[in-house]
């Protein structure tokens, strides 16, 4: 099927069509010209041969005059036939019932229509096929000059039978030359077609390759413009389009990076005042218990919000590192089960989480980032899902897989594509969540930062068979630090 489709595509391709068109054009022209000149040459050759033969016969016949006796004797007829025979022809002489023939064993080469025409008193000739070979029959009567100026038929009919084999050979030579010319012109046509197909197809192929490169994101792709034909126009248009695209994309990237830098700068600028505010709120926290009523609640609120703000700023700084490509992995050979257990223990979740951790899985990764991801996923499960929360660790040759599942309502299909978006709020009515709204985005970036060649870490959100959200983290076992490459 595929083979047939490919053959079909090749057959209907430009190259084959061009070759066919050129070949047909060449063959048609050659056939027309060659056959035309062949027929004309054949006619000329045959006419010349016939005319020469007729002239030669009449010349020879003038020498048999004067005729002294009628009716002639058989000897007379034989003598006449002998005189008219030569290497290429023989003669048949007929007088009423008498008939003599020189030089050939053929029974009777004469055709009735020719004899009739000769008897009616004209020189006549005809091409016939004698024993498979072409021959020319020429016939005439011997007429007698009457004393009164007219001529009278004597009744002696002379026929000359001349072989046309030499003419046939010349004509056959013409034909074979015509075939040769036709074959050569066909060859030439095919060569020309291939050449012109190359001339057309190469720019088309270049264009196709350039378009593919452009589609793959290489916006600096340009075509070399050759000549001034339609294909050059297409190439020029392509270059213009690519140029415009590159400019606009560059502008967009510049704007985006400006925005990110702005966020990063703002975050950094906020750190110092936040540190001061944290110090103040620590004091306030201690004093809150002694403060009466509303003042105590306000102090606790300020303290809580300051912590949230600090968390948000830290997350923003973290994410701006990913965006600027300055995030670096601190790789270490890590016992993954132990690392996950440690994460849970530090947060005090070890008793609340069901763990299925395959022991002895050692992977090369950044333990701090693994800790951030696992803590975020489990924390989210507690916050948004419902217990029991389970963490499963498994591994194969190339990958380490950690699944975090809860038994809550699961993720809304509309939400699913956006869970890793920054500051995305699943519940639009809830304008303020406990988290910064950046946790999953940071986890996702952390997962992707781990890569080994073509293998790249991933974090996927989905719903389990029994309801509840399932987040699946996959990391390559042998991460190689490639710097901040995104």
């Amino acid at each position: 099927m595929t083979l047939w489709r490919r053959v079909g595509a090749w057959v209907s391709g430009l190259r084959v069509r061009l070759v066919l068109a050129f070949a047909l054009l060449g063959v048609t022209t050659t056939v027309a010209v060659a056959s035309g000149s062949y027929f004309q040459a054949r006619t000329v050759i045959l006419q010349q041969a016939q005319d020469a033969a007729v002239t030669s016969l009449t010349d020879q016949l003038t020498k048999v005059y004067p005729i002294v006796q009628l009716p002639p004797t058989q000897d007379d007829l034989e003598l006449l036939a002998q005189r008219l025979s030569d290497r290429e022809s023989f003669a048949v002489v007929v007088y009423r019932d008498m008939r003599t023939q020189s030089g050939s064993k053929l029974a009777d080469p004469l055709t009735p229509e020719l004899r009739q025409e000769v008897r009616d008193g004209r020189i006549a000739w005809q091409r016939v096929s004698l024993a498979g070979e072409p021959a020319l029959l020429i016939g005439t009567q011997l007429a007698l000059d009457s004393p009164d100026g007219t001529s009278r038929p004597s009744g002696v009919e002379v026929y000359s039978v001349r072989s046309l084999v030499p003419e046939q050979q010349s004509i056959d030579q013409l034909a074979s030359r015509a075939w040769l010319t036709g074959g050569l012109s066909l060859l030439l046509a095919v060569l020309l077609a291939l050449l012109s197909a190359r001339g057309v197809l190469r720019p088309v192929r270049d264009l196709s390759q350039a378009a593919r490169r452009l589609g793959e994101g290489d916006l600096s792709t340009r075509l070399t413009i050759r000549g001034a034909d339609e294909l050059a126009d297409v190439a020029r248009t392509f270059n213009d389009t690519a140029g415009t695209l590159e400019r606009q994309v560059g502008e967009l990237r510049r704007l985006e990076s400006d925005a990110r830098r702005f966020v990063a700068d703002v975050s950094h600028e906020l750190r110092t005042p936040l540190a001061a505010m944290t110090a103040v709120t620590d004091v306030l926290d201690e004093e809150a218990e002694h403060l009466p009523g509303d003042a105590g609640r306000a102090a606790r609120l300020v303290s809580q919000e300051t912590q949230n703000l600090t968390q948000l700023v830290n997350d923003l700084i973290e994410i701006s590192r990913f965006d600027s490509g300055t995030a670096r992995l601190a790789l270490d050979d890590v016992d993954v089960a132990a690392a996950v257990t440690a994460t849970l223990r530090i947060r005090g979740w070890l008793d609340r989480v069901r763990t299925e951790l395959a022991p002895g899985i050692v992977a090369r990764l950044d333990p701090r980032r693994l800790d951030v991801i696992v803590a975020n996923l489990v924390g989210n499960a507690f916050r948004h899902g419902a217990e029991p929360v389970s963490v499963r660790l498994s591994a194969d040759q190339d990958w380490v897989t950690i699944e975090v599942a809860d038994r809550g309502p699961g993720l809304d299909p509309e939400v699913l594509p956006h869970v890793f978006d920054r500051l995305y709020k699943a519940d639009t009515a809830r304008t303020r969540s406990e988290g910064s709204g950046l946790g999953l985005a940071i986890s996702w970036e952390n997962a992707r930062l781990h890569r080994d060649g073509d293998r790249r870490g991933s974090l996927v959100a989905g719903n389990g068979h029994h309801g509840g959200a399932v987040f699946t983290l996959r990391l390559p076992r042998e991460t190689v630090d490639t710097g901040g490459a995104r």
Binding site: S12, R17, L20, A21, L24, V27, T28, V31, S35, F39, L46, Q50, L61, T62, Y65, P66, I67, V68, Q69, L70, P71, T73, R96, D97, M98, T111, E113, E117, V118, G121, R122, I123, A124, W125, Q126, R127, V128, S129, P134, T140, Q141, L142, A143, L144, D145, S146, P147, D148, T150, S151, R152, P153, S154, G155, L164, E167, Q168, I171, D172, A175
Partner: protein, 167 residues
């Protein structure tokens, strides 16, 4: 595209077919006629005998006297051996000889053949033999003699004038 290609293929194969149908090499032809046959002089006496009921020209080797009278005498003598062998006959009675031929007094060039025979009893073919032979002989004697009609005068009257049916 397919239709155009099919059309081209049809055109090409049609041309090839024409070529094949017209054939290569030397083809037999019909009868081609040229000018009238060549003509040359004849030496001898022209006589007209009969073969299968038709007038046929016969040349006798030339003798001393090419006059119409001599020619008619030869005609009266009948076909010779070799002529008879080829089926030639004559309707002219031997009694035609002696005969005289004179240029007619009427229209210029007319001939009168006088003989001691029953002219009315002569068959039509015998009359033609006599007329054609005498016209040919008269022309041979003198090219200026352009006689075309002959009157045969016998013992029972005259026949003609008539012209030789062979032109």
């Amino acid at each position: 595209m397919t239709g155009r290609r099919t059309g081209r293929a049809l055109l090409a194969s049609g041309l090839l077919l024409t070529l094949v149908a017209a054939g290569c090499g030397v083809r037999p032809s019909g009868v081609i006629t040229g000018r009238p046959p060549i003509s040359g002089p004849a030496q001898g006496t022209w006589l007209y005998l009969l073969a299968q009921g038709e007038l046929v020209l016969v040349l006798r080797p030339v003798n001393a006297d090419p006059s119409p009278t001599a020619a008619l005498s030869l005609l009266a003598a009948g076909p010779q051996e070799n002529e008879r062998a080829q089926g030639f006959t004559s309707d002219v009675p031997a009694g035609l000889d002696p005969v005289t031929v004179t240029a007619g007094a009427g229209r210029s060039g007319d001939l009168t053949v006088r003989a001691n025979i029953a002219a009315q009893a002569l068959s039509a073919r015998a009359v033609d033999q006599i007329i054609c032979t005498s016209v040919a002989a008269a022309a041979q004697v003198s090219a200026a003699n352009t006689a075309t009609t002959v009157t045969i005068v016998g013992s029972d009257g005259a026949r003609g004038p008539r012209a030789c049916p062979i032109r």
